[in-house]
Symmetry: C2
Subunit: 332 residues, 2 copies
């Protein structure tokens, strides 16, 4: 009996049919700058209208939030998490997103699951006006356990060199503004799962105090995109930190210039219930919470005091200020 590729756990034909079907829908996200058809070896995007274009790129995954999606059998939001996360990452440098590529890997996957993942990717790309120009769907028996997949995204955006936001002009007296998150976004899930699901053995369909909604729904809330909200004010902003893995400390520090520190005031915003639940259930010290989670602040902006009144955004709070210092982030 001959051994075929199919026998080795790789079914080219089935995946090809599925890819064609998905490809047709994905084309709806294309801007006129996309010159390529789906299926070439690379994706073509014509760049025009910039004097000194700087390409801004980033790669990210969804992390173990994927495991919650798998437990909930709800795969239509993780793609949105990924795209929004990526859009926010390059927004911190002032960039407008241009195009996105995905990578999905698994040993086996149901058609339904793959379609749901793409539904989320596509929806977020449309909302953020990003072209989903390409991707790779990799069947890798022996690397991924059954029923498990990984999802990775790659984004490219552009900013005029003169309009790059670098944090270099942040100085003593500047204000630190916080934009509200709607939950964990995409980080801290390994710790949250350990505490809530393994130690406390909460079910995803219950609503442990002080949650108002079911735990599974809270944990799957879609990572917010701040693109629309922040874009109108970009010229007023000196620095942006996206509060993701590494929490407040690491992410704010990334953009701080020499000679200044940031002082964040606890209590200047309301911490969502999900974080209080995790902290209490795991007896986690405050510092560790701010080091792992966003604590209700998804994005941090730095502005000169005199520009504060020109920035209007729903739920925006002044959460701290910049003082002389040694590039420290102090939460007090």
């Amino acid at each position: 009996m001959p051994i075929l590729y199919k026998d080795a756990g790789v079914d080219i034909d089935r995946l090809n049919i599925l890819k064609r079907e998905i490809g047709k829908k994905v084309k709806k996200t294309f801007s006129p700058a996309v010159l390529s058809e789906i299926g070439l070896f690379g994706s073509l995007y014509q760049l025009s209208g910039y004097k000194e274009p700087v390409l801004v790129s980033s790669v990210d995954g969804v992390g173990t939030k994927l495991l919650i999606a798998q437990m909930m059998e709800r795969h239509n939001t993780v793609g949105e998490d990924l795209v929004n996360h990526s859009v926010n990452d390059i927004l911190t440098l002032g960039a407008k997103p241009l195009f996105f590529l995905d990578y999905i890997a698994f040993s086996e996957i149901e058609d339904k699951v793959l379609k749901e993942i793409f539904f989320g990717l596509r929806r977020a790309c449309q909302k953020n006006k990003v072209s989903l120009v390409g991707g790779e769907t990799a069947q890798m028996p022996g690397i991924y356990p059954k029923g498990v997949y990984d999802l990775v995204g790659f984004i490219v955006g552009v900013v005029e060199k003169k309009k790059m936001i670098t944090g270099k002009k942040i100085k003593e007296g500047d204000l630190v503004l916080g934009l509200p998150s709607n939950g964990l976004h995409t980080n801290g899930y390994s710790l949250a799962r350990k505490i809530l699901l393994e130690e406390k053995k909460f079910r995803l369909d219950e609503s442990p105090f002080p949650l108002k909604n079911e735990l599974g729904d809270e944990l799957l809330r879609v990572h917010k995109s701040y693109l629309k909200e922040v874009s109108p004010f970009l010229s007023l902003i000196k620095g942006i930190a996206h509060i993701t893995g590494g929490g407040f400390y690491e992410n704010i520090k990334r953009i701080l210039p020499e000679g200044v520190s940031v002082f964040i005031k606890k209590g200047s915003w309301q911490i969502p219930e999900i974080f209080r639940l995790i902290q209490d259930a795991g007896s986690i010290p405050d510092e560790e919470m701010y080091r792992v989670f966003n604590m209700g602040i998804g994005m941090v902006l730095f502005v000169a005091k005199e520009n504060l009144r020109r920035i209007k955004s729903k739920g925006l709070k002044v959460i701290g200020e910049v003082k002389k210092g040694k590039r420290e982030v102090v939460i007090e």
Copy 2:
């Protein structure tokens, strides 16, 4: 006892130290166009010198060749496989590579292994003059089994719009040229492993007939980059196919315009021993072999007959020709 992130299997501190060490070395790949420091939320690359720049992007993984690397405990070449594969993919459209981002995911990984992976990425980026501008190193307990990692790469290159190679001008009478591969490159590993390791139970340190070298070495040969070889002739080439997953049939078809078919002549090049070993051991029909593997041809070029004498490359063979047809790939 409080539960910390570390207890949940995620060790931010250790990974941060390692990332800084790797980051310093990675900077050696930076071209002067890279404006960012490692550690920002996105990577900055200034694009200049193009009239009508078209960005060409691609995402890829190494596939289950990773499992061979893991069995051989040799992790310093898979990064090269990935970069070279990506460089070739965008080369098919005429693009010069600009920058690269990696994604490495695992539940646990030794420092040594991570450093070896980066060694390979860095070496290939230097050889291909690509800036390794960023990446994501994701610790995901619960998704990856112990000792297993996945490695994904994203590349962006650029081509002048007028110099794009699209395959559209391929016509009856054109020649099909083949550039030699040096082994499996990065595809067909699931089938190769199934046949050679599971069914035949060959050890990686033996040399089953007709191999001259040890099986493990043959299987880990680094995917060739064709950038240096092909770049001088790009203006003479009408179409390029990178023979990867999907073999001859799918990859050549990708670039064929309406109205023509390709006829490849078996025996017009020598098929490397590793493919003969796999085919014999698995009693695989010829068609399946050409559908899964590169069979010794890593890249296929289309040129007008009159330009053949102007193209010189080591081991290059005329392997077929273009005739009228319905976009078929016939291997006869």
